[in-house]
Structures are given as C-alpha cells and as structure tokens.
C-alpha cells in the first residue's frame, strides 16, 4: 500500500523551480531523499506538507488527498525540519505537555518507554539537549502519537558518526512491523547505504532517479580505462574524471558494451551522485 504518493509537484521561485516532482513510498520502507545543497529537498518536503504553497501537483498520504484531509492526516504524520529549534528555553516536559493534547492517539506508555530508552530528561531545557537528543525527542513525540509516516529533513546532519549510526539503526527498527514508513532527506550518502530501501535523487528541482536502492546501484557502472578508450566512449559516459592512467567514469548500464575491454565496477551511491552532479556542472558551463 502506498503511504505517500507525490505527483507532478511544481513550485517556481525567481531563481529556482521544482519541476514535476513525482515519487511514491510504500508502507514499511525507508526512502532516502538525496541531492546536493539547494537541489530542492527541503522545498519538496515543505510542499508535500503545505508549508510551501505548491503551484500544482497532488500529494496523497495513506491514500487520501493531503490538502483536503490535512488535519486528519497530520494526526498520523510526524515531521521534523532539522532538529527541534522552537522553545529552546522551555523544559522538555512542558513541550510534551502542550503537544500531547493535540493527538487523539497519544500514548503515554510509548512516550515513557522511548524517553527512558533515549535517556532524555524531561526537566532539561530543549537547548541543553545535544543535536542527536533533539532529533530523538522529536521522534519520541511522533512515535507517541503513533505516526505512520515520518518525514524528516536532514535528521542526521550535525550528528557525530556514532549518533548517526545509532539513529539509522533506530529507523530500521521503527519500520520493522511494516506499518510505518520513513522519508528522510540527507546529503550524506553513507546514511543511505546503511538503511534506505528506496532512493529518490533530486537535481536542480528535478527527480532524476527514484527506485529501490539495489536497482539504482544495478543501473550504473563505474568504468575505468585508458585515454584511447575514453575517446571511443564519447558521450555514452554520464561524466568522467581523467587521471594519470586514463579515466574513471560513470555509465548507465544500458549504454554499456561488455566488449569494450574496460574495467567495470559496481558504483557507490556517492559515485552516482558525484558524476551526475559533475555532468550538470559541465552542462551549465557549456550553456554559458
């Protein structure tokens, strides 16, 4: 069952536009949303949630139109932009006391369990929590009202490697029962390698990939070869880098000819992203 479906989302600003952003996320999976800084990740997430007024496009959450059922669907949604950055001087317990009233499915037992597990002290002020703790506190609030879909904008940025790994493991645990899904944006590609089932890649306001992680990795190859081979390959490479021995480049597997005598390797997500961004930079340069 589709827990989130985004169709043809468009939003124009003077210098930037989201163009027909579409993707879907099924129940019980984690989707990583990647793109370089300024590619439109936050704008997309905010448009999904009507924090940004989209020019056109339809968003369905749990099968219902989000704009028309905003209040009811928000009951089943947890979202977070960065960590909590509101009411930093207020005590954690006070924030909870305000938030819990709004949710009909609020469960104090779940709340107490996660607060204990994350060792978050209700008497601390929000500003006294570390970045990782703030993210966990936000998650605790979302889990306590039994959110089915978590939309998290860069939850791992600013976390140390241990806290990040810890959080990613938690993500996997949260979707285990198959009832919940997580959509999170990041520009740290190793996050995705660790826990994402699906990857949606946005570049300059356009979705250029949205599919299962394994399918994505299987769709590309990193090729290495000599300068002579490079000139033969020509434009079938997405992008390449030259080095002392020849070149390394990324190629879509549909454009790959096995008899070229090239060294072929499975790419990492980071390589896919870097070469796509390199191609874009080159296109922009040649356009100027």
């Amino acid at each position: 069952m589709q827990i989130l479906s985004v169709q043809d989302l468009c939003k124009s600003y003077e210098t930037f536009a989201l163009k027909n952003v579409s993707f879907t996320l099924d129940k019980g999976f984690i989707m990583g949303f990647i793109g370089s800084n300024g590619a439109g990740k936050t704008t997309t997430l905010k448009s999904i949630l009507n924090l940004v007024n989209k020019d056109s496009g339809v968003v369905h959450v749990l099968g219902k139109d989000f704009t028309q059922n905003e209040i009811a669907l928000k009951q089943q949604l947890g979202f977070m932009f960065g960590g909590i950055d509101s009411y930093l001087k207020s005590r954690v317990g006070k924030i909870t006391d305000v938030v819990r009233r709004f949710y009909k499915n609020w469960d104090d037992d779940i709340y107490a369990t996660y607060m204990r597990r994350f060792a978050i002290d209700e008497n601390k002020k929000v500003e006294q929590l570390s970045n990782g703790m703030r993210v966990k506190f936000s998650l605790t609030l979302a889990l306590s009202h039994q959110a089915r879909l978590l939309i998290l904008d860069e939850p791992t940025s600013g976390l140390d490697p241990v806290a990040r790994d810890d959080l990613l493991e938690l993500f996997q645990e949260l979707i285990e029962d198959g009832e919940r899904s997580i959509l999170f944006s990041t520009h740290i590609t190793s996050d995705l390698e660790k826990c994402a089932d699906y990857i949606t890649y946005i570049q300059n306001g356009r979705i250029i990939e949205s599919r299962a992680k394994d399918d994505l990795l299987a769709a590309y190859s990193v090729v290495k070869g000599t300068r002579e081979q490079l000139s033969k390959l020509g434009s079938s490479l997405i992008a390449y880098k030259e080095n002392a021995f020849g070149f390394t480049g990324l190629v879509s597997n549909t454009g790959l000819n096995a008899n070229d005598g090239l060294t072929i390797e499975t790419p990492s997500i980071e390589q896919i992203m870097i070469y796509h961004e390199k191609r874009r930079a080159e296109n922009e340069k040649s356009a100027v």
């Binding site: 924090l51 007024n53 009411y87 006070k94 305000v98 709004f102």
Partner: protein, 219 residues
C-alpha cells in the same frame, strides 16, 4: 464543531503556556493609571500595545512559534485564530480591569477631568481604539508572520490618532459635550454598545484578512 473547539482550546493552552509569559498579565494593572488626576486616560490603555503586544510577538518570533505550530495537527487559520483570540482576551481583560478603576476614578474625582472622563463613552472608545489597532496590526503582521516593527508602528499611530481625535472633538465640539461627564448616560451608552460592536466586526475583518495573508506565504 466540538472537535474544532477542542483544537482551539489546545492552541490557546499553547499560547498561554508557551508564548504569553504570566508577567504580561501585570500589564493589565496599567488600568490603575486611571486613578491619576487630570490626565489623558486613553494613555493608560495604550500601554497594552506599547509594551505587552510587541513583546508577546517578539517572544513568539524568538522561540520560532510558527515553526512549532505548523508541526501540530492544525490548520494555518487556526494558528492565526489562536494568537488573535489570545490577544483579544488580554484586551478585554485590560478593559475590564480599567473599567473597575474608571468607576473608582468617577467616585473619587466628582469634579471630573479637563479632558475626557472615564465614563461609558470612554470605555466604548477604548473598544474602538483596540479594534483599530487590531485591524491594522494583524493583517500587516501576517503578511510576513515575521516582521513586527512596522505593523506595530502603523497600528499604534492609528490608535493614537483616533484617541486624540476623540479627546479633541469632545473638548471643542459643543454638540459632543454630552459625551463627557456622567450626567448623560443615555447618550453615552450607545457609544459603549457601538464600540463593542465595532470591536467585534473589525476583529472578524482583521482575522479574515490575516488568514488570507498567512495562507499565501511560504514558511
């Protein structure tokens, strides 16, 4: 409807628990300034928007209240409504406190004030003054939901102009002298009633216009 009421109650709880520090209730005591002999009594009621209102909105901004509120399962118009209601509640409380001191004033200064007395006309005009403030401040503020300075200056100026006009016309227009003093209650009560009606109507207009502005901004 019942659900909507509950949501509004929760949002008001948020306003009074997180945004409006209890210290601001102390501002209501500015009503006691009505005990000053021979004074411009409208000033006593202006401290609300000189001090309390800009500070409440600054707190909201510094604490990123809007970022917090939009995470909750409420609509944008509910966020506007809750904040406006909270301010309107404070304004009404301010007027009630002032009305008590207004009665004391009338009792202890039987000779009356050179300018407007603290009578029914005065209270009616205070309702109108707050209504004018609100109808300018809220729609301007919700155009950005961020900039406070200019909306406060514009709304305060309009309220001061109104209060000055009332004081001067009651002082210099002979036909309006009946609105001063306490002898002509029959002429003054319609001003009080009219003031309350204007307060309600202008607040509704301010709400509608504010919601429209707030809906259209990208957060």
């Amino acid at each position: 409807m019942k659900k909507g009421g509950l949501k509004m109650k929760n949002l008001l709880y948020k306003e009074f628990r997180l945004v409006i520090h209890p210290l601001f209730y102390a501002v209501l005591l500015f009503g006691a300034l009505l005990l000053i002999p021979e004074w411009v009594y409208f000033l006593a009621l202006m401290y609300f928007f000189f001090i309390a209102l800009p500070n409440i909105f600054s707190v909201g901004k510094a604490q990123n209240d809007i970022g917090f509120s939009v995470m909750l399962p409420v609509r944008r118009k509910d966020i506007v409504k809750a904040r406006m209601l909270a301010i309107i509640i404070l304004e009404i409380l301010q007027i009630i406190v002032a009305a008590v001191f207004a009665l004391v004033n009338l009792a202890i200064y039987p000779k009356g004030n050179f300018l407007m007395d603290t009578n029914a006309t005065f209270i009616g005009c205070v309702f109108i003054m707050y209504a004018i403030f609100n109808v300018i401040f809220f729609p301007m503020f919700y155009k950005t939901a961020f900039k406070i300075g200019f909306p406060v200056i514009a709304a305060t100026t309009a309220a001061i102009v109104f209060a000055t006009a009332v004081e001067l016309s009651v002082l210099f227009v002979p036909a309006l002298r009946i609105l001063d003093g306490t002898e002509n209650l029959a002429a003054q009560l319609p001003v009080l009633l009219g003031g309350i009606i204007i307060f309600v109507l202008l607040n509704i207009a301010a709400y509608k216009s504010s919601v429209k502005s707030f809906q259209s901004i990208d957060l």
